[in-house]
Amino acid sequence: MIYSDLFFWLFGGLIPLGVTAFMVARSKALGSEKDGSRLHSLPGYYGWYAVIWLALPAMLSGIVFSFTHMFGLFSIPAPMLLGAMFTIGGAGLWYGLRHINVDFRAREKVEKVTTGMLVIAASISVLTTLGIVLSVVFESVNFFQAISFWDFITGTKWEPDTAFLIGAGRDTAGMTPPAFGAVPIFAGTFMITAIAMMVAVPVGLFSAIYMSEYASHSARGRLKPMLEILAGIPTVVYGFFAAITVSPLIVQAANALGLEADYTNALAPGLIMGVMIIPFVSSLSDDVITAVPQGLRDGSLALGTTKAETIRHIVLPAALPGIVAAFLLATSRAIGETMIVVMAAGLRPNLTANPLEGITTVTVKIVEALTGDQEFDSAFTQSAFALGFVLLLITLMLNIVSSIVVRKFKQRYE
C-alpha cells in the first residue's frame, strides 16, 4: 500500500465510523433522559461531540505522523499507520462517549471546537503569505550567497548559461562565469508595463467617466458587464491572441512604415496587457467617481461651468486619490502578469528603448528557469526565486501604497 492510498482508506473508514459514532452517542444521550430531566443540548450535539472525539484525534495523529515522515525523523508502514490512527480515534471515541449523560453540556463543547476550527481556517491565509515569503526568501538567500545582490540589481548582463554546468558539477575552467545582471530584465518588465498603462489608463479612465457621468442607467447596466468580459478572459488566451494575431500585424505595420520589428516585440504583449487591465482601471475609477458627492457637481454646474469642465476641474480632482490607487493596482497587475509575456515577448534580455525589439521580462525568466529539466540547486533555478522576491516586494509596495491612498480618500468624503 502506498501512502497516497492512505487518504482514501482514512476517509473511507472515518465517514461510516463517524456516522455510527453519531448515532450511538445520540441514542445514548436520549436514553439517559429520565422522567423530569431533560437533556441540556439538542440530541444532535451529543452525536457531534462523539464524532469530534473520533475524528479529531485520528486526524491529528495522522498529521503528526506525516510531519515526522516529511522531516525524515521516522516513518512507519502505511497499514500500521492506518491501524494506529483508527486505534487512537477509537480510544478518543470511547473517552468521549463516557461523558454523555443528561447534564452534559454538549453544545458548548461542540461550539468551542467549531470556533477553534474557524480560527484555524482564518490563520491559513496568514500561513499562505508566510509560505510565499518564506519560499521566495529561502531560495533567494541561497542565490545571493553565490551571486552578490549588488551585481544582481545593477548588472546589465544576464548570461546564466554556465550556471547549469556548475550545477551539474562540470569543469568550467576557461569559460566565462555566469552573469546574473537583472537590469535588462527589469527594464523589459518596465517597458511592457508602461505600454500597458498607456493603453489602460486613458481608455479605462474615460470609459469610467462616460459610464458614470454620461451614460443612462440602462446603458451603464449593459456596458459594465461587457467591459468586465475583458477581465474574465484567461491570460493564456490573450497570450495566444497577442502572439498569433497582434504581433504579425505590428510587424506588418512597422514594415509598411519602413521600420524593423521583431515578432517578439514589446508592443504586442504591452497593448494586449493594456486591454486586459482596462476593466480594472475602469471599475475602480467608476467606484470612486460615483462616490464623489453630488453636491460638488451641482455647485460647480450652478456656477455656469459646462459638464466637461465640472468633471475635469471638480470631479476628477476630488476622485484623484482613488484613481491613483486604481492606477497603482493596475500597475502591480501588469508587472506580475505572466502568460501574455511568456507567449508573446522574447526570451533574450535586451536593454533597449525601442518597443519594436524583442525584450524579456521578470515573469518570463521565472517561468523559463523553472519549467526546464535543470537541477533544482543550480544558481539558474534559484535566480527565479530571486526575481520572484523582487516581484513580491514591488507588488506588495504598490498594494500597500494604494490601500493607504484609498483610506485617505475615504476619510475625506465619508
Binding site: M117, I132, L392
Partner: protein, 389 residues
C-alpha cells in the same frame, strides 16, 4: 416677455465644443474596448471554427498478415501518407480484437493526415506536396474525401499528431483540479470569512489577517506557483504535475477571492435577523449556521463561482508546478501527472504545425464558453440575491 434669444459668444462656443469633445473621448474609449472585444472574438472564432471539422478519406484497408507485421501495408502505397499515422498504427490491434476481419479488404472512411486536412480547408501553409495535392484533388472529385464533425477533438487526449489531438485528457484534468480547488478553497474561505465577520474580536491580530488577505488578493499568480513548488513539491513531497499540487496551489490563490466575496455577503445580511435569532435564545453559532449563512448563500455562491472560474483559466502557477507536461491520457488519480485546459492551450500554441493553431483556437473557444457560462451563472445568482433586500 422679451424674445431675447441667447446668442453664445465665441468663447462660449469654444467651451461647448470642448464639452462635446470630452464626451466624445469617453464614448471613443468605450467603443475602443468593445471593438477590441468584437475583433478578438471574431478572430478566435474564425481561427478555431475549422478545427471542429476533420478530413476523412475513403481507402481500401487490407486486413492481412502483412499488415500485422507492418502497419504501413494496411493501405495502398499511394494513400499511405494521406492517412493518419495514428490510425494506421492501430490496425494490428484492431485485427487482434476482431479476428474475423483478418483476410478481408474493406473500403472504409479513415482519419486523414493533418496536411490533407489543412489543404482541404484551404489554409495556406498546409505543406502538402504537389504530387499529393493532385491525388487529393482527384479523390475529392470522386467523392472519396470529406470533412466531418471532429468528434475526436472531444473524445481524445493530447497527441503529437494534430489530427489525433483532443481536449479530453486536459478537460478531465481541469475538472479534477477544479474539484480539488473547490474542496479546499470553499470551506476554508467561507470559514475564514465567518470568523472575521461574525466572531473575530477587533484586535491587532484580526487587523493583520485582514490586511494580509487584501494583499494576498493582489499578489501575482506566478508567486503562488513558486509557493507550490517550494512548499508543496519540494518540502511536503506532493508529486510534481499532479492534480493534487495544482488543486492546492489554485486553492490558495482562490482563497482571498472567496473570503472577500463571502464577507461582503455576510455583511449584507441585516442585523435585525441576527438580533431576532439571539432573542429566541440561539447561540452565536446557531445564529450564523441557521440564519445568516442561508441568507448569505447566493452571495457566497457568486463569489465562489467567480473565484473558481478565475482558477480554471489560470495557467502561470500551474506551469511552475509542472502541469504543462505532455499527457495523452486522462489521469487516473489525483497523484498522477495531469494537464489542464489552459496548459493544453499553451503547449499547443507553441507547436509549429499550422493544424495545431486551429486546435489551439478551438480549445480557447471551449474554455471561453465554459468560463462565460460560469460567469453568467454567477451574475444570475447575484441578481437573485439583490432582490432579497
Amino acid at each position: 416677455m422679451s424674445q431675447h434669444s441667447f446668442q453664445p459668444d465665441a468663447r462660449k462656443r469654444k467651451r461647448d465644443r470642448a464639452d462635446k469633445r470630452f464626451k466624445l473621448y469617453g464614448f471613443a474609449a468605450i467603443t475602443f474596448a468593445l471593438a477590441f472585444l468584437v475583433f478578438f472574438f471574431v478572430d478566435i472564432i474564425g481561427k478555431g471554427l475549422p478545427a471542429f471539422q476533420q478530413a476523412e478519406i475513403q481507402v481500401e484497408v487490407h486486413y492481412n498478415e502483412a499488415t500485422m507485421d507492418n502497419y504501413n501495408r494496411g493501405v495502398d502505397r499511394e494513400y499511405k501518407t494521406l492517412v493518419s499515422k495514428t490510425w494506421l498504427r492501430l490496425i494490428p490491434n484492431q485485427m487482434r480484437d476482431h479476428p474475423e476481419l483478418v483476410g478481408q479488404d474493406r473500403v472504409e472512411w479513415v482519419l486523414a493526415e493533418n496536411r490533407v486536412d489543412q489543404f482541404l480547408k484551404g489554409n495556406e501553409g498546409h505543406r502538402l506536396k504537389p504530387k499529393y495535392q493532385k491525388v487529393v484533388n482527384q479523390m475529392f472529385e470522386e467523392g472519396k474525401v470529406r470533412l466531418v464533425f471532429n468528434s475526436g477533438f472531444f473524445s481524445k487526449g493530447d497527441s503529437k499528431l494534430p489530427e489525433n489531438a483532443g481536449i479530453l485528457a486536459s478537460a478531465i484534468g481541469s475538472i479534477l483540479v477544479l474539484l480539488l480547488t473547490m474542496l479546499f478553497a470553499v470551506p476554508i474561505g467561507v470559514m475564514t470569512a465567518i470568523y472575521l465577520e461574525e466572531f473575530a474580536p477587533d484586535n491587532k491580530l484580526t487587523q493583520i489577517i485582514e490586511v494580509n488577505i487584501n494583499n494576498l488578493a493582489a499578489i501575482p499568480s506566478i508567486l503562488y506557483g513558486l509557493l507550490g513548488l517550494a512548499i508543496f513539491i519540494n518540502f511536503m513531497g506532493v508529486p510534481r504535475s499532479s492534480a493534487l499540487v495544482g488543486g492546492l496551489t489554485l486553492a490558495l490563490m482562490t482563497l482571498p477571492v472567496i473570503i472577500i466575496a463571502t464577507r461582503a455577503a455576510l455583511r449584507a445580511v441585516p442585523d435585525s435577523i441576527r438580533e431576532a435569532a439571539y432573542g429566541l435564545g440561539a447561540s452565536s453559532l446557531q445564529v450564523v449556521w441557521h440564519h445568516v449563512l442561508p441568507l448569505a448563500m447566493p452571495g457566497i455562491l457568486t463569489g465562489s463561482i467567480i473565484g473558481l472560474a478565475q482558477a480554471m483559466g489560470e495557467t502561470a502557477p500551474l506551469l511552475i508546478v509542472g502541469m504543462m507536461a505532455y499527457i495523452p491520457e486522462a489521469p487516473g488519480s489525483i497523484f498522477e501527472a495531469t494537464t489542464v485546459l489552459p496548459a493544453q492551450i499553451y503547449t499547443w500554441s507553441s507547436e509549429s504545425l499550422r493544424a495545431f493553431e486551429e486546435r489551439t483556437a478551438a480549445g480557447i473557444m471551449v474554455l471561453l464558453a465554459v468560463l462565460l457560462t460560469l460567469n453568467a451563472v454567477a451574475v444570475k445568482f447575484r441578481n437573485r440575491s439583490e432582490n432579497t433586500w
